[in-house]
């Protein structure tokens, strides 16, 4: 994790967002709130999507990233298809998730961020997302007791042959590793 002052976050974020196709449209936001009213989880966020852009302009991105906000986004793309300014807000949310993860501005309580970390680890190692392993590692990393609460559902799925215990791996794992290493250089 790289250290960076809160005041620098805005510029880093804007540079990153301008690198995405149509990223510069973020400057066209006129605070109409269509994103927030379309968002299925906005009511659960400390900053609604509209407020995120207002906070960005006010230089308060660190507060947004450390609040219960970006990891509540489920990537449903409702905001993206409705934004009258053509802002790809789901991509903005993805960018904010990465910004916070990279520079350590993150809501410590967000288990969704932990899920993402476990997911990336599993896929990098095997080339596949192995759901059984993913759930096991996620609950071990967050709250094993909650994992126990899933035993009923796990058993039901197991009986239906829907809970694979075998780990799927791709054959060309070495080749994939080289790709991932090279991709990190370009990121």
């Amino acid at each position: 994790m790289q250290a960076v002052a809160a005041a620098e976050l805005k510029q880093i974020f804007l540079n990153d967002i301008y690198a995405i196709p149509d990223g510069e449209r973020i400057n066209q936001c006129q605070q109409c709130g269509t994103c927030s009213s379309s968002c299925p989880t906005a009511a659960r966020m400390d900053f609604s999507p509209r407020e995120i852009i207002a906070a960005l302009r006010a230089g308060l991105l660190d507060r947004v990233l450390e609040s219960n906000t970006v990891w509540m986004c489920s990537s449903c793309y409702s905001c993206t298809v409705r934004c009258p300014a053509g802002i790809k807000f789901t991509d903005v949310m993805y960018e904010l998730k990465r910004l916070g993860s990279r520079y350590g501005y993150i809501n410590r309580k967000s288990t969704t961020a932990q899920m993402a970390r476990v997911f990336v680890k599993t896929v990098d190692r095997t080339g596949r997302s192995n759901e059984g392993e993913l759930m096991f590692r996620y609950f071990m990393a967050t709250n094993p007791l909650k994992g126990l609460g899933k035993l009923g559902l796990s058993l039901k799925l197991l009986l239906k042959n829907r809970l694979p215990l075998r780990t799927h791996r791709i054959k060309q794992r070495e080749s994939l590793k080289k790709m991932i290493a090279e991709a990190e250089k370009g990121a």
Partner: protein, 295 residues
């Protein structure tokens, strides 16, 4: 290279369809077989770089998708998947690859480091799009042997098939699944929640949020008078069916309703046996309602 043929596609099963949602994979392959579509599985495919991966490693997630595209390009056919999440990851990476020269350069360098390359030569398709738009009513109707007359179906699209690009159907008011349901005699009901999010992974990481979203979808499906829900996404399917008892208790309303893959309904209409669409894998039994409505 195998010559591209109209009814042959390279098939990308996806991780979920190989594990918790095999019923989708099984029913999809069998439906294709009956309709004369050849789905040839992509050899050594890897994770598409789904939402949870993109969230912290976007660049790498594009490379994951692009490796699949590179492998598929060698086969010279379009890449078809049934998973809504895989469809969007692969499709989005393919689109951005085509639109953004800098990103394209970075992706190609990463692929080349692992001995592969991609030139942007294939399309990514969802199986629903292939069935409705490539085959269409005429071909599918010819193969229907059992109609579900009057079966009321709530078509549930979720997010990642129509959004954000809207190139299969309208992102707000899709009808592609509804049309197919009419071809098998079923009646798609007006369903206000058809494109509302089920919460996806939030069902695991923020269960109270996931259950609230799923509860509203199920409640509205019941209010619409539907006999069952039809989905085209593995994560939607499991979210909508696995928590019905919990959600019913929370809302103090009966939210139990069978949740089927659209390929299961279509497959049965095409004369497949329940085992051939893995109907027994579903946690919400649909046999009774289907038997009552079939002729």
């Amino acid at each position: 290279m195998i010559a591209p043929s109209k009814n042959t596609y390279t098939y990308y099963p996806g991780c979920s369809q190989s594990a918790t949602n095999k019923a989708y994979d099984i029913s999809c392959r069998n439906v294709a077989r009956v309709l004369g579509i050849e789905l040839l599985e992509l050899d050594d495919w890897n994770c598409c770089g789904a939402t949870a991966y993109t969230a912290i490693r976007e660049h790498r997630s594009f490379v994951l998708s692009a490796r699949n595209l590179a492998l598929a390009e060698k086969q010279g056919r379009d890449l078809v998947t049934a998973c809504a999440g895989c469809y969007l990851s692969l499709h989005k990476a393919n689109k951005y690859f085509g639109e953004d020269p800098k990103l394209r350069g970075n992706i190609r360098r990463a692929l080349q480091a692992g001995g592969e390359d991609y030139n942007g030569g294939i399309k990514v398709r969802h199986i629903l799009d292939v069935l409705v738009n490539d085959l269409g009513e005429e071909v599918i109707s010819q193969h229907v042997v059992r109609k579900f007359e009057g079966l009321k179906v709530a078509p549930y699209y979720g997010c990642q098939i129509t959004r954000p690009f809207g190139d299969i159907d309208d992102p707000e008011f899709p009808d592609v699944m509804g049309r197919m349901m009419r071809w098998v005699g079923a009646v798609p009901v007006d369903f206000a929640m058809m494109t509302k999010c089920c919460g996806g992974m939030l069902m695991i990481t923020q269960p109270e949020v996931g259950q609230e979203l799923v509860g509203e979808i199920l409640r509205q499906a019941k209010l619409s008078g539907a006999d069952c829900i039809s989905t085209a996404c593995p994560l939607c399917q499991i979210n909508l069916e696995a928590y019905q008892r919990k959600v019913s208790r929370q809302l103090a309303a009966d939210c139990s309703i069978p949740v089927l893959y659209f390929t299961q309904l279509l497959g049965l209409a095409l004369g497949l046996e329940p085992e051939q669409v893995a109907l027994g894998d579903n946690l919400t039994p649909a046999e009774a309602i289907l038997a009552a409505r079939s002729e």
